[in-house]
């Protein structure tokens, strides 16, 4: 019976997918409905899940439900808890979905909707979902060990240590870039800043309620937390218009950067139950709720895509980020297609909660497909906007100027006709004073979401509410990530310092804690501040640096997966991980080398640094810098960015060599050499 159903359903899905792609492909020159884009994506996910993930599960990994998982072996009710498959799928998805899939696709929309869509869909099926799934598998077969530990086990101590340093470097860059997204969204926006600031007392109140007043009653605390959040959005408008409070909440970029740096240092030092935990619950509720609302909104409103399929900016001259489609599209959209960070989650708490091996297919592969769907919706939301508005929001001030009239002229010159009135009207509609140069994805996505959701609920009058709701939703989980990330960064820094001077590794010592926190906040704060005052945009530089780092991490995780497959003597199927590894290495190494050495100063860090330091040496000031000191700072920061990028390149090349050596060794062996926990082994050799 189910065979019959399957014979009917799957061809149906395939036909629907083909029709959706046909609508996208044949609709050139006229606008295409966004529903086709989203439907094309959904059918690809369904087919990939049904066939490719089954192939990986049955043939490549040979998942075996008779093998006890770490959750069953250690079942302690705290860390190791066997969890229902669908519940864990939701939990895993909530852990992997962050701001990444919302930012990258919005930036990549400058090349049109098609390049981004194709990379998101191909990338997730061939690389992203495979990585998440296999890393989860490798971790489950190793008692839920973390990525760093597994690299140590399978590839050796040196690669393990290298990978940990790499992870810390990527953490620092991601914290800086996420904080920068918040700064760009809140600069000169009293309404936005007030609602975000209000989340601090709301979280504190919730924290006290659920620990002191009614211990563990998270549901009650969250209910009033959500109500207070919505009230703060409504109240924000009155605050913004208030003669005293309005200017009080109107901050410049550098002021906001300092505020965030201070926030990060204080928040990461408070007990977790007071602010981090309650805010994390709020942000998870909003995240899941908003993603569902956006999906419903797209199908209900069925907006048309205003962005063309491809724009002239695939030639590398785009204002949002510079560089050609190859390789820069593939590092701009990281999360949503493939994200190295997921390897850390897939080897974190999730493997300790898997009940049966076969569940990993839904949780690992399916979870990543769902995140990819979020990225696709973010791309859709950016592409339903008038392209003129999109470029007004995302091009740096140095290119389009700071007035609506000037911006309209420049952007119309690119072939995206727009009037100054429409730019100012859009700003008024969403309750902001200006929408110009709000790069970073969040504001563009918020305008796109306001555009879609206001057509579903509330009409034009609700547009400002929906805009600030979307900003709140993104800022909330970015601030949670900043708080939690700073803590993790502190642990990692303390761990490393401990190798130099033992007492510094003591996480109970106040002095060592303060030092670790200060170093972590200082590092990401430096990059953040540099990005905020960078006259050329900041996001421009930092997001690509993050993309290179994140994709390198994915490359490293996939190298581990490849080595494990070879060591398991499954070399017949090694292409499953080798193909995405090769593609990631090709794109990221090309992008990394171009970012460092490209002769065009808008792409190459060294070229730009040279241009500014040479001019400074001759005493000439180049726009947009205003003084010789500013020139020297631009030069120094670009040399620094080049060094970080070079570190990522060297790291991944080194990992590649180690993995190759291990694979060649394993190929010569007659029997499997992977360090798995034996199938029938009980608890021997394992921690209790």
């Amino acid at each position: 019976m189910s065979k019959m159903m399957s014979l009917l359903v799957w061809p149906g899905i395939a036909v629907l997918g083909a029709a959706s792609f046909a609508a996208l492909a044949l609709g050139r020159g006229e606008s295409v409905n966004a529903v086709w884009l989203v439907t094309a994506g959904l059918t690809v996910y369904l087919i990939a899940y049904r066939f490719y993930s089954k192939f990986i599960a049955d043939r490549v990994l040979r998942l075996d439900d008779s093998r006890p998982t770490p959750a069953l072996r250690h079942n302690d009710g705290l860390d190791y808890v066997p969890t229902n498959k669908w519940v864990l799928y939701g939990h895993h998805f909530a852990a992997i979905a962050g701001a990444g899939p919302l930012v990258g696709p919005v930036l990549a929309a400058q090349m049109g909707f098609l390049p981004g869509t194709l990379w998101i869909l191909c990338g997730v099926v061939i690389a992203g979902a495979v990585q998440d799934f296999i890393v989860l598998f490798v971790s489950v077969r190793r008692d839920g060990k973390s990525l760093g530990e597994m690299i140590k086990m399978e590839l050796g101590n040196v690669p393990g240590t290298l990978a940990l340093v790499g992870v810390l470097a990527i953490m620092i860059i991601i914290l800086a870039v996420l904080a920068l997204v918040v700064v760009k969204a809140l600069t000169g926006s009293p309404w936005g800043l007030f609602t975000i600031a209000a989340t601090i007392p709301i979280a504190l109140l919730m924290g006290v309620y659920m620990r002191v007043l009614r211990p563990g009653r998270v549901g009650e605390a969250s209910a009033f937390g959500v109500v207070l959040l919505l009230l703060s959005i409504v109240l924000g408008q009155a605050v913004a218009e208030h003669p005293t409070w309005g200017p009080f909440f109107t901050l410049t970029g550098p002021q906001l950067a300092w505020a965030l740096i201070g926030y990060g240092a204080v928040a990461a030092s408070l007990p977790v139950w007071l602010m981090l935990a309650p805010r994390d619950y709020l942000s998870t509720f909003l995240k899941v709720g908003t993603i569902v609302a956006l999906a419903l909104g797209i199908y209900l409103v069925a907006p048309t895509l205003s962005m063309p399929a491809t724009t002239r900016f695939i030639d590398g001259t785009g204002p949002v980020f510079s560089g050609k489609l190859f390789p820069f599209l593939f590092i701009t959209i990281a999360c949503g297609a493939v994200s190295g960070f997921h390897a850390l989650i897939s080897s974190g708490t999730t493997p300790k909660m898997i009940e049966k091996e076969s569940h990993m297919r839904l949780i690992g592969f399916g979870g990543m497909l769902t995140e990819s769907f979020v990225a696709l919706m973010a791309l859709t939301a950016a592409c339903v906007l008038d392209p003129g508005i999109y470029f007004a929001m995302n091009a740096p001030g140095a290119v389009i100027g700071t007035t609506a009239a000037g911006a309209a002229e420049v952007i119309s010159g690119w072939g995206f006709t727009i009037t100054p009135e429409l730019i100012s009207q859009t700003a008024r509609d969403i309750g902001e004073s200006s929408i110009l140069s709000r790069a970073g994805g969040a504001p563009t996505l918020a305008v796109g979401m306001a555009h879609i959701l206001s057509q579903a609920v509330g009409g034009k009058a609700m547009q400002a509410f929906w805009y600030h709701f979307a900003i709140l939703f993104e800022a909330l989980f970015i601030l949670t990530a900043v708080d939690a990330g700073t803590r993790v960064g502190r642990f990692m820094i303390q761990d490393m310092l401990g190798h130099v001077y033992k007492p510094l590794a003591n996480t109970q010592s106040l002095g060592a804690n303060v030092l670790g926190t200060a170093l972590c906040v200082g590092l990401w704060g430096y990059f953040l501040y540099q990005g905020v005052v960078d006259p050329l945009g900041g996001i421009n530089t930092l997001w690509q640096l993050f993309g290179v780092g994140n994709q390198m991490l994915a490359g490293i995780a996939l190298l581990l997966c490849t080595s494990v497959l070879v060591k398991m003597k499954r070399e017949r199927y090694v292409w499953v991980t080798l193909v995405p590894t090769a593609w990631l290495l090709i794109t990221t190494l090309t992008a990394g080398v171009q970012k460092i050495f490209h002769p065009n100063p808008s792409i190459g860090f060294v070229a730009l640094a040279r241009k500014f330091s040479d001019a400074a040496a001759q005493g000439t000031v180049l726009a947009p810098a205003k003084s010789i000191e500013e020139m020297q700072r631009v030069a120094f920061n670009n040399y620094l960015d080049a060094a970080v990028c070079a570190f990522f390149v060297v790291l991944v090349v080194a990992m590649c060599i180690y993995a190759l050596k291990i694979c060649l060794q394993a190929l010569r062996q007659a029997s499997p050499t992977a360090h798995e926990i034996p199938a029938l082994g009980g608890r021997e050799g394992l921690p209790a």
Binding site: V87, G98, L344, F491
Partner: protein
């Protein structure tokens, strides 16, 4: 301050259909509780009832953390060294 009293270990504390003194009783109450438990797990909220059930099944009569101790433990683990989250 002592917000919670030391809970006793009874199977009826847990999600157990066979418990005769199940307060809510009935299939609907049970479904509702299972749903709440699932939501807590999805959102990463400490699920004390589930922990109590686990202890009752595996270590009956053994020591039991209070609700606050359990929540503190769970939160400390969630945001501790391995508290990695995504971009």
């Amino acid at each position: 301050m002592n917000a919670t009293s030391q809970p006793s270990l009874r199977r009826s504390d847990a999600l157990d259909p066979s418990a005769p003194d199940n307060a809510e009783g009935g299939a609907v109450g049970l479904r509702l509780r299972a749903l709440c438990s699932a939501c807590r797990q999805v959102f990463g909220i400490p699920d004390y009832e589930r922990y109590v059930q686990h202890r009752a099944e595996r270590h009956p009569g053994g020591p039991l953390l209070t609700r606050r101790q359990f929540c503190d433990e769970k939160i400390a683990r969630k945001y501790g060294q391995g508290g990695m989250r995504c971009c």
